[in-house]
């Protein structure tokens, strides 16, 4: 209750409201562009947040995530092309409804379910984050080290079909994190005498390069054309009778979305498909699924929008980004010198409550902006790819330059783009690299500080109860996902082949 009242106070801050509405608008547009994932949409905004006040900056990025999760359903329904990976499940029935002349109703169900999913996810976020963070308040350096290991243990889940490739990608990120000044002695490492590298490589350069720049390189190398929309549908909301029928799939989507969002590494795509399957299993008309069932849109859209909120639980409570999008959001926090995790609620409580208020504004704003932006989305979906990509390229270069007014930063971003392109080609996942990059400093500095404190006694990691608990959870994560891999292999079940630009 106290959380709700404190957060409500921030609803009168016009900076937060404005940031939330701009974020949702940008997110819907970005999400509606096939190939531009929520994380890319957020990464494009990241450089702009440098000059912003911290709370507004975080709200802008988080609201973009919320908007993008809905935006992805627009091309999924209209042109059978999911704008985001999480919207892939919406294609199944959304496009079928479009073919039956019910595109407006499909878009209405998607929007209305997305708003409900966002509000449900926000309630869960507010309920779960603070208690978890309170547990984490008594953190010591060994516990922080164990927390970093817990974050890295997610890699086993995020590595697609090859664990070795995921680990290589993660070590690459850890290597990049060692560039710059040593966290304990203050000496320089791997700077090659360049003063530009003394402070290390900012994660934002690598993220924009890996996600956005590599996507441009990938698209220009494919030179494909996207399908065009012929009709101009208007949003139509479901009747009371249909709305009642949708309560069950929406509840299923909300619960699965919450569970998957809280688990690092699960994410919107898995939540959408799981809730689609469960909605079909519990439906009175399972035969309609795949042939234009409204329930087949309601369940996945509620789920992926709930994930957009609950994915912030591990980020806010432990500082662990469980998906590409939350990794970008973590970048947004770090840009302003704020470290999410155990101390966040103590040191920067106003940012958390402002974020809750911003997310509430974003969820409500989604309804109205979603309706208003439909013609814009249809127009954008039909833009020729050359013009769109040229503008995105110009935006990336301008945004990255504006961070430090440095051409060196642009070189780093372009280099990261090339690495990302080659990783896509060789089918290496990105997210482990990002995790390695953002957690590398925490892991190394906490590990070495712990040893300094304990007089080089490695037992400190097992004597500290929190550290021991987190290391045990990490071990469970690692062995659990390895066990699942073996089980899948045994059952001949194919895993996601690889997480190229995905928002897991």
């Amino acid at each position: 209750m106290e959380t709700i009242l404190t957060s409500a106070g921030y609803l009168t801050d016009y900076h937060i409201v404005l940031a939330a509405l701009i974020g949702v608008t940008w997110g819907i547009i970005g999400g509606a562009l096939p190939g531009i994932s929520p994380s890319i949409t957020m990464a494009l905004l990241l450089p702009f947040t440098y000059t912003m006040e911290p709370t507004s900056a975080i709200v802008l990025l988080a609201a973009t995530y919320v908007g993008a999760e809905y935006g992805g359903s627009v091309p999924a329904i209209l042109i059978r092309t999911p704008g985001t990976n999480a919207a892939a499940a919406t294609v199944l029935d959304g496009y079928e409804m479009n073919k039956q002349g019910k595109a407006g109703l499909a878009l209405g169900i998607s929007l209305y379910s997305g708003v409900l999913g966002s509000l449900f996810g926000l309630a869960m976020l507010m309920l779960l984050s603070k208690p978890l963070a309170a547990v984490a308040l008594s953190f010591t350096p060994p516990a922080y080290f164990a927390l970093g290991i817990l974050g890295l243990s997610v890699i086993a889940t995020l590595s697609g079909d090859s664990l070795i490739k995921g680990l290589i990608a993660a070590v690459l990120g850890l290597m990049v994190a060692t560039i710059g000044t040593d966290p304990v002695t203050g000496g320089t490492r791997f700077t090659m005498g360049s003063s530009d590298l003394l402070a290390g490589i900012a994660p934002v350069m690598v993220m924009v390069g890996l996600f956005a720049m590599s996507e441009l390189l990938s698209q220009v190398s494919n030179r494909g054309e996207i399908e065009r929309v012929n009709s101009k549908p208007r949003i139509e909301f479901p009747s009371l009778k249909l709305a009642r029928r949708l309560i069950k799939p929406q509840s299923i989507g909300g619960v699965i979305g919450t569970f998957e969002g809280v688990m690092p590494g699960a994410g919107g795509t898995i939540a959408s498909f799981m809730s689609y399957n469960e909605a079909r299993r519990w439906s009175k008309s399972p035969d309609e699924f795949g042939k234009g069932s409204p329930e087949g849109i309601a369940a996945p859209e509620t789920a992926n929008n709930a994930v957009a909120e609950t994915a912030l639980v591990p980020l806010l409570s432990f500082g662990i980004p469980g998906s590409n999008s939350t990794a970008i959001l973590l970048g947004g926090f770090l840009i302003h010198g704020i470290v999410p995790g155990p101390m966040l609620f103590q040191r920067s409580g106003e940012i958390v409550y402002g974020l809750y208020a911003g997310l509430f504004t974003a969820a409500i704003g989604l309804l109205f902006i979603g309706m208003a932006l439909l013609p814009v989305c249809i127009w954008i979906v039909n833009r020729p790819r050359p013009y769109l990509n040229a503008f995105i390229f110009a935006l990336i270069l301008s945004g990255i330059y504006s961070i430090h007014n440095s051409l060196f930063d642009l070189s780093i971003m372009l280099a990261a783009g090339v690495v990302g392109f080659l990783m896509r080609m060789l089918k290496f996942p990105f997210l482990p690299t990002v995790l390695g990059l953002v957690l590398g400093y925490l892991v190394e500095s906490s590990f070495r500080r712990s040893l300094v404190i304990s007089g080089d006694n490695y037992g400190i990691f097992f004597n500290d109860r929190i550290s021991l608990g987190l290391l045990c959870v990490s071990a469970l994560f690692i062995f659990g996902s390895i066990g699942k891999r073996i089980w899948d292999k045994f059952r001949n079940q194919k895993r996601d082949t690889f997480s190229e630009g995905t928002d897991t």
């Binding site: 702009f48 000059t51 090859s162 070795i164 490739k165 680990l167 290589i168 070590v171 690459l172 850890l174 290597m175 060692t178 040593d182 304990v184 002695t185 203050g186 000496g187 490492r189 791997f190 441009l216 390189l217 990938s218 220009v220 190398s221 494919n222 030179r223 020729p384 790819r385 050359p386 013009y387 990509n389 040229a390 503008f391 390229f393 110009a394 935006l395 270069l397 301008s398 330059y401 504006s402 007014n405 051409l407 642009l410 070189s411 372009l414 783009g417 090339v418 392109f421 080659l422 080609m425 060789l426 089918k427 290496f428 190394e444 590990f447 070495r448 040893l451 300094v452 080089d456």
Partner: protein, 160 residues
């Protein structure tokens, strides 16, 4: 003649090379009297060795699982893809080289025009108008709205 150079084998080899180069730099890090037991080189050396071992493992897995299959099929059309991507990268590098002397506004207009044309559009009045509009919009956004000091270049006289 079959090729064994699958994507995984190339990826594994790349990991070995990256790990080896990184290790050579890691072993060159100087020790100091202030060093803790791990030292500045401790973690980098561990990362380097892990990278090399994982690279070897990926190569072995690639050779074992793809034995007898022709890896050339995996690479069909990839050379052309790399060349197309390199072209866009070239436009970005050209922008980096000229932006300080030519200035942000003009180089941005040129970058947008070049990128559109590179994507397959014929140069036309529409392309030119879009480039001028896009470049001017970004220039106004960054210079006036966000107050970012972009390189003025040859338009310094006009305050651009």
């Amino acid at each position: 003649m079959q090729s064994i150079l699958s994507r995984d084998l190339i990826g594994g080899a790349a990991a070995i090379v990256i790990g080896a180069v990184y290790l050579s730099f890691a072993y060159d890090l100087r020790a100091s009297a202030l060093d803790d037991i791990v030292g500045p080189g401790g973690m980098p050396r561990a990362y380097g060795w892990v990278m090399v071992v994982l690279g070897v493992a990926l190569c072995v897995v690639a050779l074992v699982t793809r034995w007898g299959t022709d890896a050339r099929l995996e690479w069909r059309g990839q050379g052309r893809r790399i060349l197309w991507a390199a072209g866009l990268l070239g436009i970005g590098i050209a922008y980096l080289l000229v932006v300080n002397s030519v200035g942000y506004l003009l180089s941005m207009i040129a970058l947008i025009a070049a990128t559109i044309v590179y994507h397959g559009e014929r140069f036309s009045a529409k392309v030119l108008a879009t480039s001028v509009f896009g470049g001017t919009l970004l220039w106004a956004l960054f210079v006036f709205v966000l107050d970012v000091s972009m390189p003025p270049g040859i338009l310094a006289f006009f305050g651009a």
